[in-house]
């Protein structure tokens, strides 16, 4: 029985050698259970060991293997050759981020934005350990749980045209993370975070394209988080008109 193969195009870029990225095609043996990540592993192990890409858990929870697969931001471990075979698969590094090398992108801006929004519980007053743990009803947890599922994979930034048009935009994951903390009943830092949200490059950079929520591998729905933040920001604006700060 002859081996089935599939063609994989990989956008290569070696900063020490190349002026521009270029496409290299690899022919990979195909089986119906292979993921894109496994195809890349095959290429690295058997054809060209210089191909660079990030990966870790192989099960869509670490957020490392984000890339453009036929122009769509996806996790390499969560996309399968069988959904593309026998057509060619085209792999490019995650959009809207500078290319470091091959499929590895510079995530600095993304990380910076996540850190900027005070991603930690800011309680009303410090509790000492003897007071015991925080209590939360199922409803209180349901209010923010969805937004806590973000694995920081960056697919939403690759999907967002507003981030593509203007890197100053805070972006879907950072805004969803703000929502995660604001909506947590243990947190009291909403006022502090609103300053960030109320900016032009905060929540108002979003025009609700909605593609971020479509590509999110964990169904965080950052687009929804952002629209809710727009409502909060509008309320804050109204209050701000009567209370100069």
């Amino acid at each position: 029985m002859s081996e089935l193969t599939i063609d994989i195009d990989v956008l290569r870029y070696r900063p020490e050698i190349d002026e521009q990225p270029f496409t290299q095609t690899f022919s990979v043996p195909y089986t119906a259970d292979m993921s894109i990540l496994e195809a890349l592993q095959y290429i690295k192990d058997n054809i060209d060991s210089s191909v660079s890409f990030r990966w870790s858990c192989r099960m869509a929870i670490c957020g490392s293997c984000g890339m453009m697969i036929n122009g769509v931001p996806k996790l390499g471990c969560k996309a399968f050759l069988r959904d593309y075979y026998p057509q060619k698969v085209s792999l490019e590094p995650l959009a809207n981020f500078p290319i470091e090398r091959d499929l590895v992108v510079v995530m600095d801006d993304f990380i910076k934005k996540l850190e900027e929004i005070k991603p930690y519980l800011i309680p009303e007053k410090e509790k000492c350990l003897s007071e015991g743990a925080y209590q939360q009803t199922p409803e209180q947890m349901a209010k923010y749980k969805q937004y806590s599922m973000c694995i920081n994979c960056g697919l939403c930034y690759a999907a967002c045209p507003q981030y593509a048009l203007d890197n100053k935009f805070l972006g879907p994951a950072a805004l969803a993370l703000i929502s995660r903390y604001n909506r947590d009943s243990r947190d009291n830092g909403e006022a502090l975070r609103m300053k960030i949200v109320n900016q032009e490059e905060g929540v108002w950079g979003c025009t609700f394209v909605g593609y971020c929520s479509v590509v999110c591998p964990k169904d965080v729905d950052p687009a929804a988080a952002i629209q809710l933040l727009k409502v909060e920001s509008s309320k804050d604006y109204l209050i701000g008109m009567f209370k100069p700060d």
Binding site: K195, N198, W204, T207, S234, Y237
Partner: protein, 125 residues
């Protein structure tokens, strides 16, 4: 250790325009289709008597205080929705320079038509 340079945050005025955009959008979503049916399609297709939109009827309605308000809202509020989208779409298609001017022109247009229609209605009553 406090930072020597604190970032200054500038509050955006978008909420004003977004609020109008939202209200206009709701109105457009619910009412514009039936409005288009009434003004543009039912009469020509013989599904409605043109007497329903007669001068007497419409003028009589538009000269009441509530009628004038309704006409103003039906005509002008959608513009605050559409011009907001047009303003942002200009940025999407790459017209990045002169954003301040684009804002003045887009919202200014909505404002101008609102004033125009409002003035006409006031003068008619």
């Amino acid at each position: 250790m406090t930072k020597t340079t604190e970032k200054t945050y500038q509050r955006s005025h978008e909420p004003v325009f977004w609020g109008l955009f939202g209200a206009g959008g709701m109105l457009t979503a619910f009412l514009t289709p039936v409005m288009i049916l009434i003004t543009g399609l039912l009469i020509p297709f013989g599904l409605m008597d043109s007497e329903n939109l007669s001068y007497t009827k419409v003028h009589g309605f538009a000269t009441t205080w509530y009628g004038a308000l309704i006409v103003l809202v039906l005509v002008a509020l959608p513009l605050w929705h559409t011009l907001h989208r047009i303003f942002h779409a200009l940025h999407d298609i790459g017209v990045k320079r002169g954003r301040d001017w684009q804002q003045v022109i887009c919202y200014g247009f909505a404002f101008a038509v609102s004033m125009f229609v409002g003035t006409l209605l006031l003068q008619m009553s």
